[in-house]
């Protein structure tokens, strides 16, 4: 499809104010007469609160109020199920370190900070469950004794074909046990915001979020208010990566404003973000893969135990999504999968870039790398033999919709990375000599795929409006896109502006995008699931078409009107009817759209210390249509950054539910020096016929193959498989010692 604005790397709408430093993030707002809040956090991962004494704190001059459980109208919340107390009261349990006991509100931040240390809390410690494999055993201490007699909150079963026969008939069976780490999002902007009562008496919160529209019902429920009396305003957001899907701060600010009827500001420090907000799920995985000697997959048997932490958050949909991709983008005729989501007293786990599929990508790609090694087959070739194409039948018996771009992504990645294709055979590149005698070079490939939008029958929808201001001759002078989509940095506002300019045949600079304010902009759903370009783009293009029709009517009727508005709600289910897992077989239609990626890592491993350096990296991303190629490259760079940290350096360490990595000085995200010196993005455009201009989602797919590519490359270099990562120097060294 020939396009004019879509496909151009126009400047991001927010770039100028961001380079000037004038763009306001939540901590940059202040209001007349504002108070300051600090949370009194739980000191135990599992305990009963026996006494809360706020008298000393309240006596401190400057303290306005210490809010406790009895002040909360409806003391429960949760993004999917309301299993979290807003504040834990006397007699109730804390279930992880992120539980709140009280909120201290004072005239100054300093006073609030001092007063929080004066709140006296007594606990009766309870046995801590800190390993989900133990937690799922009968008789384990219950994290939520009020919710039944098990810590398992979801068990997914997939039974496809005859898995016993599939594995029995295999010439080679690869069997592994994997442990994926707890990791933190590390969005650079710590949670912050202001709650206040607006001119229309609405409880209003100005804060970062990923789905302003979904915070509203949670806050309204907590305050027992109608939803139209709650308002969310989302200014610039300093990154999210899934970490702002749950409310960390919004409901607390709403509660303060509601109770005190004054503006209340709260800013987390980094250690609060580190230790009191959600993380990525660790998976504990048993995985068997069978294949014939010519490399055809015959079956898989998989058991996944995913750690939920103290509260459910989005764990159930995360595990559902992750499980649906447990066999990756490969045709597997026979499968047995059991996946469990299990409460513990460790940090709550939640959405994080990939939504459960990042862990899956690690396990299925490590299996493929091992299988190639066991078969003595080139890893590209093995994958090519099994990869999906249009119409392939997936793990849950569903048909892959048109636009499967994974083969093309792998082909282009392999060619870029130096592979050669000769008559259907793939031949790996010669890596040349290492940079030093003790260094060992290695190269490996990995693939990944992920759904776009919500899955399993969820009614995912986005509403986007468009307003046209016409000049006297009826030409479009200015365009405003109306959306409450949160721009977490990825550039949704820019991408939507480009699509509006394209659909309306106007200049990009004529389009502005409204602020994400639930009082004035329609709900476009969450900035998650790599969905906005696809779903909000679809809504926007249709709204533009409506607007143009209305404009033409006005011109025809010669009414002299100069303002046209249109709005469209686009539903994902209108494209494909998705369905939930069958309870016994797991068969379903999981997702309506997909994006694909294939990446290659060239590493050098220090054979003496075990250190890994990623020298070069190739990322082939099938985005359907790159709406803004430079933004795609930015997403890919960031995805690889996060995947590289996941593979090599990042690990949120807890002991018996207590965090040991509490600052950025002990939780190591990659610096510029840790990134591959050469990074090549190969943009692949296999159109999604259901996407706007053929576009697919991008954001999450960029990170899926990174860790398995790097860790498989370590094997290529020094011959060891690192099944529990990050592949720190010591882990690699230990594996080499055992060899």
């Amino acid at each position: 499809m020939s396009t004019r604005v879509v496909g151009q790397s126009v400047p991001k709408k927010d770039a100028a104010t961001k380079v000037r430093g004038s763009r306001k993030f939540p901590q940059d707002f202040n209001m007349e007469g504002q108070l300051h809040a600090k949370v009194v956090w739980s000191e135990h991962p599992h305990a009963r609160v026996t006494k809360i004494d706020v008298s000393q704190a309240e006596a401190l001059p400057g303290v306005v109020k210490v809010i406790t459980a009895e002040d909360v109208p409806v003391n429960e919340y949760g993004i999917i199920i309301p299993d979290q107390p807003v504040l834990v009261g006397e007699g109730d349990k804390v279930r992880w370190l992120g539980d709140r006991i009280a909120i201290v509100v004072a005239e100054s931040e300093d006073t609030a900070r001092k007063a929080r240390r004066l709140v006296q809390v007594e606990y009766e410690p309870l046995p801590v469950v800190s390993d989900p494999r133990e937690a799922m055993k009968p008789g384990a201490p219950l994290v939520h004794d009020e919710r039944g007699d098990t810590n398992v909150i979801r068990h997914i079963k997939i039974r496809k074909g005859d898995w016993r026969k599939g594995l029995a008939e295999a010439d080679v069976v690869v069997e592994s046990y994997y442990i994926t780490p707890y990791v933190e999002h590390v969005y650079m902007q710590p949670d912050a915001g202001i709650g206040y009562i607006d001119d229309h008496e609405r409880v209003t919160v100005n804060s970062a979020a990923q789905w302003a529209g979904h915070d509203i019902p949670q806050i309204a429920h907590m305050l027992d208010l109608p939803q139209d009396q709650v308002r969310m305003i989302v200014p610039a957001i300093g990154g999210a990566f899934g970490g702002r899907e749950d409310m960390h701060i919004q409901h607390v600010l709403a509660l303060c404003a509601y109770l005190l009827r004054r503006p209340v500001k709260m800013v987390f420090d980094r250690s609060e973000v580190m230790t009191r907000t959600g993380k990525r799920h660790p998976y504990y995985v048993k995985y068997r893969t069978g294949a014939t000697s010519d490399g055809k997959l015959t079956g898989v048997e998989i058991e996944i135990v995913a750690e939920v932490g103290g509260y459910a958050s989005t764990s159930v949909p995360v595990i559902e999504a992750g499980t649906s991709f447990a066999a990756g983008p490969y045709v597997v005729p026979n499968a047995k999968v059991d996946a469990y989501a299990v409460y513990t007293n460790n940090a709550v786990t939640m959405a994080m870039r990939g939504f459960g599929t990042t862990q899956s990508a690690f396990i299925y790609e490590m299996q493929m790398s091992k299988l190639a090694d066991a078969l003595g087959m080139d890893p590209v070739e093995l994958r090519m033999k099994n990869l999906f194409q249009d119409g392939s039948i997936g793990l849950t018996g569903h048909e892959m919709p048109e636009g499967v771009g994974i083969r093309e992504a792998l082909r282009q990645a392999a060619l870029a990375g130096g592979w050669k294709e000769e008559d259907g055979r793939w031949i790996r590149p010669d890596l040349g000599p290492p940079s030093a005698p003790h260094k060992r070079p290695g190269i490996a490939v990995a693939c990944g795929l992920k759904n776009v939008g919500y899955s399993f029958g969820s009614d995912d929808k986005s509403t986007v409006g468009v307003q046209l201001a016409l000049d006297e001759s009826g030409r479009i002078a200015r365009v405003t896109v109306q959306t409450a989509a949160c721009d977490v940095g990825m550039g949704v506002q820019t991408a939507l502006a480009q699509m509006a300019a394209e659909a309306l045949s106007v200049d990009y600079n004529q389009v502005r995008v409204s602020m994400a304010d639930t009082a004035s902009a329609p709900d476009s759903g969450s900035s998650s699931a790599s969905r906005h370009v696809w779903i909000s783009g679809n809504a926007l293009v249709r709204a533009c078409q409506d607007a143009l029709r209305k404009r033409d009517e006005i011109l025809m009727a010669e009414t002299g009107e100069t303002f046209v508005a249109a709005e469209h709600e686009f539903r994902g289910l209108s494209v494909r009817e998705t369905k939930p897992y069958d309870p016994e077989t797991g068969m379903c239609v999981p997702h309506f759209s997909y994006g694909y990626a294939s990446q290659i890592a060239l590493v050098e491993v220090d054979s003496e210390t075990g250190e890994t350096e990623v020298l070069k990296f190739w990322a082939a991303q099938d985005v359907g249509k790159a709406v803004n190629p430079e933004m795609v490259r930015g997403q890919a760079g960031g995805g690889v950054h996060m995947g590289l940290g996941y593979a090599l350096t990042e690990e949120y360490i807890q002991q018996e539910g207590v965090a040991k990595t509490r600052h950025l000085s002990d939780y190591y995200i990659p610096t510029v020096m840790d990134m591959p010196r050469e990074f090549t993005l190969v943009t692949v455009e296999v159109p999604d016929p259901t996407g706007p201009f053929g576009a697919k989602g991008v954001g999450e797919m960029t990170t899926l193959p990174t860790a398995p590519a790097i860790i498989s490359a370590i094997h290529d270099a020094v011959g060891v498989w690192i099944d529990e990562f990050p592949a720190t120097a010591e882990r690699v060294w230990r594996a080499m010692q055992k060899k």
């Binding site: 790397s9 400047p11 991001k12 927010d14 770039a15 100028a16 961001k18 380079v19 000037r20 430093g21 004038s22 763009r23 306001k24 993030f25 901590q27 940059d28 999002h185 590390v186 969005y187 650079m188 902007q189 710590p190 610039a236 957001i237 300093g238 990154g239 999210a240 990566f241 420090d269 980094r270 977490v488 940095g489 990825m490 550039g491 803004n628 430079e630 933004m631 490259r633 930015g634 890919a636 760079g637 960031g638 995805g639 690889v640 950054h641 996060m642 600052h663 950025l664 000085s665 995200i669 610096t671 510029v672 020096m673 990134m675 010196r677 990074f679």
Partner: protein
């Protein structure tokens, strides 16, 4: 309280500060210079980077009174006569900012680097921003923006 006199972005500034106040807070809360960001609060991420007498410092752990009599440059001080600094313009042109929270600190580290070394190699640019963490970009477009700015500044300098 003590009086802190400094030159901020070329203008004299005089503020009452506490002995333990940190420069980032003084800039943000007392002078309204919100472009200075606080992320880790312990000098580990570079988001709060400002220049003191031309040297980059992490202002979140820099005692404000150390700036007594010094020249402080924040992101707000970079544009000249309404024109963005070439580094700022280059960041826009190569789509370097995503969430943007690390960007002011990155740009100031870049400025400190280019002021000292107008023709840096890629390796020197990496060194120059090695104290600034970014979670969104993978740093590539940031490094390219600094390269582009260096080229443009050299051309402009040559024309003059």
């Amino acid at each position: 309280m003590a009086t802190l006199n400094m030159i901020v972005n070329g203008k004299e500034a005089s503020v009452e500060v506490g002995a333990g106040d940190l420069l980032a807070h003084v800039l943000r809360d007392k002078l309204g210079l919100i472009g200075t960001k606080i992320s880790c609060g312990e000098g580990e991420c570079g988001a709060c980077t400002v220049l003191v007498d031309g040297l980059s410092v992490t202002s979140c752990i820099y005692p404000a009174l150390k700036a007594q009599g010094r020249e402080v440059t924040t992101i707000e001080g970079l544009p000249q006569e309404g024109q963005l600094h070439p580094i700022q313009q280059a960041f826009i042109d190569v789509t370097a900012p995503q969430c943007g929270y690390c960007i002011p600190g990155m740009i100031l580290s870049a400025k400190a680097l280019l002021d000292e070394n107008p023709h840096p190699t890629r390796e020197e640019i990496n060194e120059g921003i090695s104290g600034n963490l970014c979670r969104c970009t993978g740093y590539y477009q940031i490094v390219e923006a600094i390269e582009l700015a260096a080229e443009r500044m050299a051309e402009k300098g040559g024309a003059r």
